[in-house]
Symmetry: D4
Subunit: 153 residues, 8 copies
């Protein structure tokens, strides 16, 4: 059962993989099963719609969405699922990621996302695990250990 | 036939109507038939999806999308239609509309929008009419007259 | 048992209450029990330390921290608890809340927060309920209903 | 007749050609005939004036203007033609293109431009083709195909 | 001869007059003859062209151009005259005048303008008088007196 | 007695050492004894708490705190000590250090920090020595000499 | 002797007094003697020069400089005295004080200032007292009391 | 007499010479005699004071001041001379020169500077020559020729 993905990661472009890999690595380290997909809210709206609409029923409990520039992916997914959606704004060569950040974080009333720092893929993984930990003691324990190890490092 | 809407206006929230009214008024003045709808990309994704997917077939030739903050509406519509999509970033009380502007204008490769100024609803109407004018001589003529009147004013 | 607070709200100043009230109202509407405290990370570090360190053991599952300007409250709390911490950057009269936003969202590796929009207190409540919903079916159901009602509105 | 340019591209400096080439390539791929000129609104105002004033009569239906820094080219052209004018703000080494973007997008009432993303030359080509497609079925078809291919990619 | 205007003031919109009045008042106080015109670079390109092209020959020695948002007026005038052009970026309700400022100050190589502060109309008058003072002793003297009075105030 | 540290330097991450070294070098040149520690307000809250709470009693008279992104270190230290706290915002690859700067400088009423420029570690050392010089004549003298040497250089 | 000013406050304009009053009030509350002067670095350079050059010899130990827009006052004073200089960037109606802040905080190597928040006049007073407290036990004590009272409030 | 400098160039740091050289080269090309000095408003206030106070009497007619970060040099010089002062904000590695730009351009009422673009040293030379041209026909002629050559290039 541990193999059923609990976290669904979606990114807007293959080029985001450089950043998102850090997220996957951290989930691996925490032993959190996840699935990962590349699908742009703009170029593949159908695929995003299908993936997001079915996520909760597939057993996904937390979504992580990474995108850059007019970063609509997180908002589009959040519109389609009752699950908490973590967003990772990707750094941009023009505006340093301020565009991605504002596109993601300034969500209107009714449809929140949980935004982390620009390129904060590792933190997205930790936040997802904290969220899982609200219900699953092993992840809560893992978070306690992680904090202790970090403090001792 | 003149009554079939050529321009489809969609806005993210009823509160955007204050700004968008200027767009409708200008289209009225130009004699351009339009339809208008309030539907949030985040709160009513289904309605937006249905409206945008069918716009071209209903005879709409140009879309105008107005939204504020994480202004995803224009991008979401642009993902679903082959029509040109004009976006109006709505001013915000926090960041003056810089958030709306960057959310709208920084679209990734493959899915453009035509962004006008913050709160530039009147200009969206003019741009839409210019686009219609590329095919319909009466609107081209109207644009020539409009420019001349403006210069003489 | 439904009365044991599941969400802990902390704000940096009494003046933030205007914004935070919207969060409390939304949690009330969802039937989510919460506790609420005013404590500045800068003026009352001891109180914040005590509150944050004990939150998990008191049964709190999600923290919401609202603060403005150099908004360190969320980060300070996140440093002291394994729980997920949602942060609400408060609008400022000088920089519109860009200072609060960047202070909160740009957390370094290892200690994430889940940042919502400037003054996004209502969305913080929804996000907290979504997080509770990953474990508690009644809140998951509530979120599904909430989205449906919003779409129909 | 297919050889009569339908799109007129103008850029402010030879150095903009690196970015604008992507626009030309995309129009080539779509089979849209275009003309291209380097002329600065500041250094060659006469040439820009002549080119813009005559564009509509030469058969041009859409203008694309690319420029950086105090990017006045698009506005100057828009002042002189009833055609729709798409603007491409060029990235700058100082401010990342925020200067170009604000110079272009914040047009005053009466004279709109259709602004795309910083360095969004490829999107300018797609938007121009969408505009042509409002009147010419082959380009409308091309846009439908393009979107389908992109989604399948 | 004192009545021949030495300074030519042009503003993009009648609404800029609130700010520009301070400029005229200061020139009056300094006894500098000036002419003043409202003409938008976007709405009245012909009038701006004619005015700017003939300014030097009419005896104007310094131009002051005030405009807001995509503030192209100063650059358009500077392209058409060998005279020094002072620009006054007008404050905007959306972005505080950052748009006007960047549109004006970031001029490309070859065509400078002399930009003063946002809404800095009074300073534009002083700068114009300083420039006149490089050739006309009475204005140089006036500037010396003005600085002394200011210091004593 | 000269060996008892008068300045306590704390930085949020080992990677800040590149910048902070300049601070240490300058203090060495001025003959100001200091201690230096790496401790993140987020990852090592306990260590920071202990260090800051005891600083005054250990004889430290001025604190220098360097950190990047959501730079809470200076504020957290300032909350725990009556000593003056100088903060050095570290440049960031995303936003150039604007995030670090605003996180540090916009402290709320009651708990100030003394913020220097982005990456201004050398200036932090000079400022610390100026502060020591308010009480210790040898450092006052050193500052007078330093200014004279700089002017002659 | 308690009446000899220990803190010298200078502000660039009479209009800054609204903000600076809070600084004076706080120093009064702490029993710190101060002197206060209005003198612009731009309009009264001579007066600023004389005041700043003689401050140390008059017994001043800490300078507080408040100014807005191109806020050069703090840097000009810091160039002329070996004393620590605290700067208060004044909020501006155009850019919210970002101009004042960057003008003050980004000082080049060799001449630091200690910048507090936009309009942070009260904090400037506290910081000045903390600096005095490094040498004068009564002010150190006052700071300890102040922090305790604030925490209890 | 042609050898008496008409333009005085001052820069805040030797490192600004890379940018300022373009200014000197352009003045050489125009045959405008100039003098050039490195002197920081912060590190060498005395030298700046002496140079600026005597500039007008030495025959200098226009000043050009280049500086970066908290770029006070132009304002300090403008406070001390009745001559027009052109300022060149130098690009910075942290904030791209936005700090230098705002420090220079936002001058308060009474003491203007003529700000050109970030790193706009060549344009400063052209603007200085335009100013000289208001009185000296050979430079007016040179500006007319320069514009014609540029347009033909």
């Amino acid at each position: 059962m541990a193999d059923t993905p609990l976290v669904g990661i979606v990114m807007g472009s293959k080029s985001d993989m450089d950043v998102v890999q850090e997220c996957a690595d951290q989930l691996d380290e925490f032993g959190v099963p996840y699935e990962m997909m590349v699908a742009s809210a703009h170029r593949n709206p159908g695929r995003v719609h299908e993936w997001a609409s079915g996520a909760a029923e597939r057993g996904i409990r937390v979504v992580i969405a990474a995108a850059g520039k007019s970063a609509h992916l997180g908002g589009v997914v959040a519109a389609l699922t009752p699950l908490p959606v973590i967003t990772v704004p990707i750094r941009t060569s023009d505006l340093g990621g301020l565009d991605s950040l504002l596109s993601m974080v300034q969500m209107p009333k009714g449809v929140p996302v949980a935004c982390v720092a620009i390129n904060g893929a590792k933190n997205a993984a930790i936040l997802a695990t904290q969220i899982l930990g609200t219900a699953m003691p092993e992840y809560r324990e893992r978070m306690v250990t992680f904090k202790r190890e970090m403090a001792e490092d």
